[in-house]
Symmetry: C2
Subunit: 309 residues, 2 copies
Amino acid sequence: MNNKLLVIGTMAYDAIETPFGKTGKILGGCATYIGLAASQFETQCGLVSVIGDDFEQQHLDLLEEKGLDLSGVVSIPGEKTFFWSGKYHNDLNTRTTLDTQLNVLTKFEPIVPDNYKDASIVLLGNLDPNLQLEVLSQMDVKPDLVVLDTMNFWIESYREKLDEVISKVDVISINDEEARQITQTHSLVEAAQKLHAMGPNYVIIKKGEHGALLFHDQKIFCAPALPLEEVFDPTGAGDSFIGGFVGHLSQCGKISFEEMKTATIIGSAMASFTVQKFGTKSLEELTFSELRQRVYTFKSLTEFEIELT
Amino acid sequence: MNNKLLVIGTMAYDAIETPFGKTGKILGGCATYIGLAASQFETQCGLVSVIGDDFEQQHLDLLEEKGLDLSGVVSIPGEKTFFWSGKYHNDLNTRTTLDTQLNVLTKFEPIVPDNYKDASIVLLGNLDPNLQLEVLSQMDVKPDLVVLDTMNFWIESYREKLDEVISKVDVISINDEEARQITQTHSLVEAAQKLHAMGPNYVIIKKGEHGALLFHDQKIFCAPALPLEEVFDPTGAGDSFIGGFVGHLSQCGKISFEEMKTATIIGSAMASFTVQKFGTKSLEELTFSELRQRVYTFKSLTEFEIELT
């Protein structure tokens, strides 16, 4: 395994409203969150994405300073960057999309840079399944691990293509409601079994404030979520999770259930930072020492002694 | 600390309907579930409850064979045992009460048997707060640990008395919606802080299929729930949880956050058995070796290795 990590996803501007405040246009997009999370690790991470000519140099600089390779990011002159605006309700579990301007996304033709065509890990961020398939088809060497993140929009409107992607990946990461939606099953254990049968050897079901479940070969791992006094802005939590997950696997260079357990905790820790501030702010400021500290907090959350005689 | 565990609660007959089937009148009541769960441990457990003359001898025999002390169970001649009937909906998270016949409950005057007036642990099962207070007032010696279980009905209709009970207990065990209801707070971390301020040093928030949280003095422990393919009947899950919790503490004879973490896992394991069959059936059949096995399953659910350099 090499330590190349290829990420396809959106780079965007978001405008977010939560019960705690409201932002103007801020940096967003799944590839952005994933890249920032993965940049905590010793990995060579390349983003494949598309931006318009309104994308600010300071944001490109920020990502490059974090060591991310942007040679796969195409800028389309005369077009604007993908924009999303949403409002979270009081419980922060539901949100309303206020505005979606696809802009450059409608013209996105992903091109994998030559030196990433042998990347050991490919992360297909939340995006049109056709584009996810296109990226896979451009790989010269079969990756050791392909990870898929998706969401309800693609399940509802692109089901056939999505199923094709699912059949080609090793790991699928979705939330509980989406797992139930895809499999038409209430029990998450059964849903995971059905998802396994569709292709992926590893199934991650994210449960927001209730943590995440990792399923593999009859085995289950439960990652807690950090109980927080306040969730400030949930945007990008799932992307941060999967970015931390692949970042760790890419650095350690081993694919196993044991390593994925640790990766799931690291992803959960990463998401716990993201939700504490608006947008990418937490991830931009995060140091590895803070991350390590929080991972140990996660460990102490679930550790207990047992001696039953 | 002695190993006497005093439990006040209902003994009842239930009729239950779930998506998986329907029962006739079966054994129920919170004291029954708590007693059966606690009977797995080396503890002297006495129940304070009330029954009518329709309560079957075979059910009294069952509880006595499990080693439970029924000297605090009063039988009222000419009256019928408390009866509850309910129907669970497809997701098993919501239920409709079809029938409640209070019967003997309206005449319940709890009497703590003399030899339990020095019990080290008192568990106030889900019941009228006035009766919970009455039991506490009958104790000769201040217990080392008083544990309270309650539910939405008492929060809505008996709030003042309930607050008085809460101010006198060491541990409160309630579910997430009830914690939010009592404290008028969405965040469970904040809700726990508010509950602490009302009296209890330890706060347990049960989250059903998402496990349970134990809060104490700025510290938090997350117990997972066992991911099950099927939840057959949720009746008595919370009672089994708290019964296992106090059973373990009574046997080990130590009150600390560390022991309560283990007790929370044991309670969760106990609840995981209860929901797999109708009513008390699982707890009636459960062996300690099966319980131990499941507790180790819980351990493996959350264990992971971490070495971040």
